[in-house]
Symmetry: C2
Subunit: 353 residues, 2 copies
């Protein structure tokens, strides 16, 4: 019943602006409704979807709104996708990601994908045109993992990663979920640098430590909150240690953290914050040399705490917002996992949990 | 009645940790109570205070808590300073800054200050030991400007600027208030760059534009929200224009902003965000080239909106948290004002308002 032109007849925008139906002129993520038409523009890609991974916050909201009723949860998800042309929970605003197989790649698509490749999207479902054709019949409604049939559209500036043949899909997805961190860490670390990784035993932290090693860091200090996390870093099965020094400290205590880091050989040229806890800005700044750099990957980072904290400490540090997108980030992170036994072992244990 | 050692007998910390009485071990800003003893450590400076500039939020809270009663407002401020050893409003958590004259500089102070110099502190009152000796008798309680007598302590890593003889104090203070922005802009801009300054007619924006010019920017595009602001940038009294192109656009509309910036000669190598409005992250990212840099100086910046926005747009941009401290920032900004007639004229009109 729409009177707009079909997607194929409108000039394509690499950002997907031509797919925005309502309200017009906004970015796809901000839109209420997208056009999920399967006909692709010359720079688009159509994916045959086999699974949605709903964002945890979104699934929790749906589960609470329809307690114990898988049919209602399924109906709610179908309704959102049919109404909005994308899986963006209107209450939480969040989406998730998907896996599938490339069905058709437009001749001008810059993504380098070919039909038949299995991929995961690295941009959010909140901006991905999506249509479901099986009524989600294969989904029990009881987990965020939604097996399904349908199609999704990737734009010229979307991001997708080819799923590797040599790694189990859950392991590959766990790596792809955090692949921006090691790529940016690798860009920033210079040969001979001292690196502090806060949250070194986590997924983004361990990959960032491996990236710092490959970039030539002279010393890597891993900060963890407790002995159990330290034990993960000391894995005896790994032939070479992921970090050179382990500091057990509360990253929310600036003075205590900085003192511990200094005793371990700091302060750092580059500090990488990979723990999702609020209040780590001051400790990260204080653990970094004058003239050094702090990269914040934690979504719990407060912009004003970082800006005012550095000023209050007269700290001449460069502070970077951890951008999840760096060209080549997916391949780089997968390669780090393949070639760093300590990272692989740590991921395998975390994915099993 | 305190049983702790006098400040002079304890080893001095450049961060002022030796002045923290309660709770022990935290940074001075996080402390409930500081020791404002006038005896200085070898790396400290004692300032004879003549004026406090209370933070606007703090003054508003005091004014509302004691409506129409200057005596009660005065008593409340005196009580805070006497109890906490610093002027940090316990409700708002905020402070302000002060002006005064250097009374004594310890032999190991790295601040380069000499007795008799008039200064302004560039670190917050929330971390500055302070004692008032005149009962604030000269203050009418009716404005944030608090004439007073007393002393304050600067640490090794405090920041203070000598007030220049050749500029009116209100003008100098207005410049010092935003002096981090032009200094960091100057570091980031390379010769031949295209710069976009969002909020170019404001205080930090105009100084950042002047800094971009001096750093050799090939083209400076100034973004303002309305014609009245554009008129400030077109000041006919100034011999050379502050910006090369003026864009009137809503910085909260990513697509509209980016289109306007592109028509004016963008996208930018470096985009500087100087407007205190929420929701400008996407527009700034979209107005910047792949491989370019965005510097966020606005305290209204959302960390997660910046991080997720760049990822959602597959934007390979470096995003910097605008650190208010860069060595030499005060002198650099004052010099820009002195040597850039268009900036001086803009500041003089803004300070008069």
């Amino acid at each position: 019943m729409t009177t707009s032109l079909p997607a194929s007849a409108r000039p394509a925008s690499p950002l997907g602006l031509h797919r925005v139906l309502d309200p017009p002129g906004v970015l796809p993520q901000a839109a209420w409704r997208l056009d999920p038409s399967p006909v692709i523009a010359p720079d688009e890609v159509r994916v045959r979807v086999d699974r949605l991974n709903l964002d945890a916050a979104s699934y929790r909201q749906l589960h609470e709104a329809h307690p114990g009723d898988p049919d209602k949860i399924r109906a709610a998800v179908l309704d959102i996708i049919a109404t909005r042309g994308k899986m963006q929970n209107p209450v939480t605003g969040s989406g998730g990601m998907l896996t599938g197989t490339v069905a058709e790649a437009g001749p001008h698509s810059p993504l380098g994908l070919n039909p038949g490749q299995r991929i995961a999207t690295l941009v959010s479902l909140t901006l991905t045109p999506l249509q479901i054709t099986d009524g989600l019949a294969a989904w029990d409604g009881l987990s965020e993992q939604v097996p399904c049939q349908g199609h999704a559209i990737l734009f010229g500036r979307s991001i997708a990663a080819v799923l590797p043949d040599d790694l189990p899909t859950p392991l590959a997805l766990a790596v792809l979920d955090v692949c921006g961190a090691p790529a940016l860490t690798s860009r920033v670390i210079k040969k001979g640098n001292i690196a502090v990784i806060i949250g070194a035993a986590g997924k983004s932290g361990s990959l960032s430590a491996a990236a710092a090693r490959r970039a030539g860091a002279a010393k890597i200090i891993g900060v963890v909150p407790a002995e159990a996390e330290a034990a993960l870093l000391r894995d005896p099965a790994a032939e070479s240690p992921l970090v050179d020094e382990i500091v057990i400290a509360d990253a929310r205590d600036p003075v205590g953290l900085a003192e511990n880091v200094e005793q371990a050989g700091g302060p750092a040229d580059v500090t990488v914050v990979c723990v999702d806890a609020a209040g780590c800005e001051g400790g990260a700044i204080l653990s970094t040399k004058q003239g050094g750099t702090v990269i914040f990957f934690s979504m719990a980072t407060s912009f004003s705490a970082a800006a005012l904290g550095a000023e209050g400490l007269a700290a001449d540090v460069t502070m970077l917002v951890g951008n999840g997108y760096v060209p080549g980030h997916a391949e780089f992170a997968l390669d780090l996992l393949r070639t760093t036994p300590s990272v692989r072992s740590l991921f395998e244990r975390r994915v099993q949990e």
